[in-house]
Point group: C2
Chain length 462, copies 2
Amino acid sequence: MSPSASEDAGPGTWGRPTVRVGLLGCGNVGSALARLLLTDAGRIAERTGVALELVKVAVRSASKERDVPGVERLITTDPFGVVRDPAIDVVVEVMGGISPARDLVLEALRSGKPVVSANKELLANHGAELWDAAAAAGVDLLFEASVAGGVPLIRALRESLAGERIHRVMGIVNGTTNYILTRMAASGATYQEALAEAQSQGFAERDPTADVEGYDAAAKAAILANVAFGAKVVAGDVYREGISHVSGQDIEAARRLGFVIKLLAVVEAGEDGALGVRVHPAMVPQAHPLASVSDSYNAVFIEGETVGQLMLLGRGAGGPPTASAVLGDLVDAAHNLTVKGVARKLELREVPIRPIDDLRCAYYLSLFVADRSGVLSAISGALGRHNVSVRSMEQDAPEPERGVAGPSRPDPGRPEPAREAQAHLVFVTHPAFERDMQACLHELRRLDTVRRIGSLVRVVGP
Amino acid sequence: MSPSASEDAGPGTWGRPTVRVGLLGCGNVGSALARLLLTDAGRIAERTGVALELVKVAVRSASKERDVPGVERLITTDPFGVVRDPAIDVVVEVMGGISPARDLVLEALRSGKPVVSANKELLANHGAELWDAAAAAGVDLLFEASVAGGVPLIRALRESLAGERIHRVMGIVNGTTNYILTRMAASGATYQEALAEAQSQGFAERDPTADVEGYDAAAKAAILANVAFGAKVVAGDVYREGISHVSGQDIEAARRLGFVIKLLAVVEAGEDGALGVRVHPAMVPQAHPLASVSDSYNAVFIEGETVGQLMLLGRGAGGPPTASAVLGDLVDAAHNLTVKGVARKLELREVPIRPIDDLRCAYYLSLFVADRSGVLSAISGALGRHNVSVRSMEQDAPEPERGVAGPSRPDPGRPEPAREAQAHLVFVTHPAFERDMQACLHELRRLDTVRRIGSLVRVVGP
């Protein structure tokens, strides 16, 4: 807290030390936060003992209309001016993106200002540099809102579970994909229909790539690896698959087999000290707490040596829930300023990342094959040669009418081959190594009886 | 941290400032914590930056055998000696009960030692006094483990949601009763059978009163009211009903109607500023996240103005999960000592407690009545006279053979009255005031066609 601020105890400060806040960005989250600070500061001060005063709001376009009473007089288009303003005690960065956010956050930290950020992209790519800068300056860098929005997950991992030996963290950390998968399971909608519905409901962007291909979840997985394991992991280290290849047939087969398909961010410690960090669709047993997390909710399931199993669930996105998480951090940073304390540093270690090839898990495998005698024997042979043992197999009714269906439908302009009845086989395997499974897929693709590989989905194990 | 401790940086301290811990109590939680501190301190220090050294463990009986390697040399039977030892920096109180725990905690706080406590009974009855003492001395009093064991709930409410306008907190905070209700629902066991099973599994005490009659949950409800609403509430302020009157028939009827019966601790802000604080069995809609919390798991569902809906789920009891929560607090307290910071104070305000009579909710009402014409009309008349409107009614098949069943079975020594066919009616009402419902029950009891009131269970509303 700057001395000038601490000495100010006018009527606007509710008799508490005032901490002056500069806000970078005024989109969904920024405007929800600005509204809280401008309309509810008295109650917040009474409840928390910290008086927060919003003094500047940096935006890209000053002319844009904002539905936040009183914000106009605070608007500036100079974010560096906010960071450098000696009257500002704490900086909140909710502008997103790497540039100029990275430079702004670094400059704020180096000049001794605590920073609260909701910027998963920035943290997942430059976290170590930022946390080092915060530690060097002895100020807070708090980022609760960067993963799972309003869910108080980061604080749980950094503080409550600070001494815990964490085995695995599995999260539904992307609301868009969870909404799509929930709609597909509930209504039998195709992926494209569910995506269109998500877009019309405002749960998906017009270009949904970052969500549906798992890039957003991968950034959050990197942050989870930082916080839960103290591991120096960046977004690019994360193995990533999205949900665009998940079909209604997969979801229906999963249901029959006792599973729900969810896009999971998984971070797990191996016995060898290597860390698995991956994002992909997964078969979650119906009785698992993550299976019932529906719609755009987020949830993170934590398994620890001493604490056992924990799950935290809530709204992972949206302006107000995310602003609530930012506010929690802001109160924390302001409290630390007023008592001259400091949050714990986040020190990251280099940890070997386990290649996806070394993953060992059970698999769900869906194959479309020619409905001929000898097919199953050829496939079983290929599985066996690659040390993949089958736990169960089921065959859908042959589909002579529908021919080849689904996303890899052949070019409609190409003359269709003579139709042969097609069978749909669904296998669930015993645990196998990913490298073996991939080698097996390679062989299966070359069998002339295998029309196409439908899906390969990893099964969540104990 | 005492100066003597901070200057010690021998090989046993992993090059970090050492914080010396005195432990009061070595039962399930205490011995799990002692094991962590004695066997895993190096890893904890590396991960958290805080070296914790367990130096004394106060117990009632020094001769009892404890399965914790290296603890024997630390054992003392003088808890005040631990609190007064100038070489001890932080006190952990996991002995339970009010006396001597209250005197010990007060003395520790007043002498400037932070305290971590898992003692719900103490906090629910003397919390205000203890938090005042902590604030006066400028030291931490942390108590994550006092509600819902390993679930990082208190920190979420005190810190992440510090600025949040909380509307309602509903918790499954007693694992014993949740286990019993889960078993009754899953296997059709009676209450007595499920209780016996819980006892044989170690989930219930031989005298289960504190759990099954809701006293344990009521203490936790008081602490939730303290933390989530800053309200000065003690255990005795909490309206309380247990589960011993919940029958298999109620659970089955609930299932048919789309509900699950759970023992809930509810704290909710009324529009008039009064706080409702109550513990009772409740009908939870099957789609509600609390409905799928089974066995001995605990979960707390939080509804806030900005954050929306949150749920935190995990192990609510047992030595290791509770010790994990204590360890999280201990790291926090130790960190605050080393940086000379201090946790936020908990300041409680007097808040009017809403009398249970003023509660307004929907009800499930089960009645055993004579199977005569005119009965339903008489009952409907009574409900209507008390402004209780029926949403649905269903009638089980008459039970001429079974006669009066369930917990209020008449004294078997008494000559049985002439048997008349009996019908079981189940009503679900629209929201009504508790006072009206109770007046209605009073009238129903006096109708000669009503054999007995089966159950009255409140329905969780939006």
